[in-house]
Amino acid sequence: MNALFESALITAICASTLRGTTPILLAALGEAYAERSGLLNLGIEGMMVAGAFSSFVVALKMNSLFSGFVFAAAVGLTMGLVFGILTIILGVNQIVVGLGLTIFARSMCSFLHRVIFGNQFPILFGAGGTSEIPLLSQVPVIGQALFNQHWLVYLTFSMVPIMYILMYKTRFGLRVRAVGEAPRAADACGVSVYRTRFYAILLGGLLASLGGAFLALGDLAFFVPDMIMGRGYIAIVVVMLGKWNPVRVCFGGLLFGFALALTSALQVAGIKISPDFILMTPYLVVIVTLVLFARSSNLPSALCIPYQRENR
């Protein structure tokens, strides 16, 4: 009986690790490209909130989860575009734009939520459905955890190797890295710095917004304005932990997902630690891992520095 309970607990922890990792990993994969190209996007938190809210409203009103995701993608691209115009073309300080976008998006969503729903928090029925992969899901203990998940979970994790190849084996990835490391040299070689950075930030916005949408439509099936809870910032941390390498970023994301899963598992298991205390652990984990593994951070040289063609 005890063994049965234990294996069930392990399955539950594995499953919720994957679910918890997905939104962070999605946002982090996009952010890895943005940072590699020289853009620190602190607006990621706002983009996730916007993605969660817009997808939720559209899915609820149109009664279609798919259109919710599509709409969130559009919102994410728009926000990436705004961030890009301000920081790439106008060369405005990225930290200011990022925080500004986050404040704007977060309060805009709270505002619209109040306007549309009043004080109610409707639940979206039918959201969060999983799709089982036949055969593989029958594997004991881990089968149900790994192969009975939301389709976006599969998509996210299968994106990791693709993003890795895109970054290290293709011309586009080379350009992204060049633009973040030595924009002037890249420009001299005929790479459009502006355009490459735009692609990177559009990707970042798209994935961050989808991450938010997953949280609202794939994981929780409802929306509350502060549901993102700093996951956008965690994504930035994960990117730095993973040193801008999608595969390592995936491991960083899993670390966080595991900490989150453990938080709820310990509560369920009835271990008497205050939830506030447990909630501190993921952040402490980051600091400790930074101390242990990321002694030298090797930031992309041009991170946070706007590129202006005319000032040579």
């Binding site: 301000l86 925080l99 500004g100 404040i103 309060s107 709270s110 506030d276 205390f277 501190m280 951070s297």
Partner: protein, 321 residues
């Protein structure tokens, strides 16, 4: 402009909204006083940020340092107030706040100085740790068990910060403006400030000129952390009167962009800080009158930040011609 479109979209008259925003926020003495009180923590936090941003150090976790300072003040004030004479008590609490804020940034500062670990990340993480830590402390060890919500005991009004004579504004305003201009002076006129500015321009040059970059890093971050903690202690001592769990005003979200917009100029921080606190206060009043949700003010705040930031570009372009 964009704000008006949003208002029209939900069927409220933007002219009335903005009219009321200004008459409430600036037209009435109550609005002005409230805005000034709200501005005080912004001023103190901004002065700390002025120091570290001028050295190219990004302390993004002021909210955590603020909360630690506030928590310490709320915890210590009730029993220190009986043990010490009033002036000594005030100074002790202020020091506690400063030390709390400094303690909270010490780890990021040392990591940055010794191992060059990115301080944006560590300060941000420490901030989240602080949010959860103070909630936990207030619910448990330092809870005043006689009240239902988790909070520290109320500080009697005799032991709050004194008011500036003939006003209802507490002396924090003087402290805020004094620290701000003091830091401004340090940055512009002293050796330490000069070294900070060299560090901002070119870290390698600073190193080769014989400046100790690790020491400067620690100083810059400690100053900003300490002042954020002081702001927290001040807010508890003057405005709140106690420390509550789940209380996080997130001044940093406003103060950080504000210092950038002021272009690291202490004088420019004052009107900007007033403007943002006026927005917050005016918005709260109008929310009650017109039924426009209070979040709308933060929408405006975010928009203003973005527009101010964008206008900087056009200004620069215009100056180059």
């Amino acid at each position: 402009m964009t704000g008006s479109i949003i208002l029209l979209a939900i069927g409220k008259n933007p002219l009335i909204y903005f009219g009321l925003l200004f008459t409430r926020g600036m037209g009435s003495s109550l609005g002005v006083i409230e805005s000034i009180i709200k501005m005080i923590p912004l001023l103190i936090i901004s002065s700390g940020l002025l120091a570290c941003f001028s050295a190219g150090l990004w302390n993004i976790g002021t909210d955590g340092q603020f909360l630690i300072g506030a928590m310490l003040a709320g915890w210590a004030a009730p029993w220190i107030s009986n043990a010490l004479p009033y002036p000594a008590y005030l100074i002790t609490i202020a020091l506690l706040g400063i030390l709390g804020g400094m303690a909270w940034i010490l780890l990021p500062a040392v990591l940055k100085a010794r191992y060059d670990i990115n301080e944006i990340i560590t300060t941000l993480m420490m901030s989240w740790v602080a949010v959860n830590l103070v909630t936990w402390l207030v619910k448990g060890p330092i809870n005043d068990l006689s009240t239902v919500p988790a909070q520290t005991p109320l500080i009697p009004s005799a032991y709050r910060l004194p008011m500036i004579p003939f006003t209802r504004i507490h002396v924090g305003l003087i402290i805020g403006i004094a620290t701000l201009l003091g830091i401004h002076w340090i940055i512009r006129k002293t050796t330490l400030g000069y070294q900070f500015r060299v560090m901002l321009m070119n870290k390698k040059a600073a190193m080769h000129a014989g400046m100790s970059v690790p020491h400067l890093t620690v100083y810059g971050l400690l100053i900003s952390g300490g002042l954020a903690g002081l702001a927290g202690a001040g807010d508890v001592l003057a405005v709140k009167g106690l420390f509550q769990g789940n209380w996080n005003p997130q001044y940093g979200m406003t103060a950080i962009p504000l210092v950038f917009l002021a272009r690291l100029n202490g004088w420019a921080v004052i009107p900007l800080a007033f403007f943002f606190s006026f927005l917050a206060i005016g918005g709260e009043f109008v929310a009650r009158d017109l039924g426009v949700p209070v979040f709308f003010v933060h929408v405006l705040e975010g928009l203003t930040l973005l527009f101010f930031a964008a206008s900087e570009y056009f200004e620069k372009k215009w100056m180059h011609r």
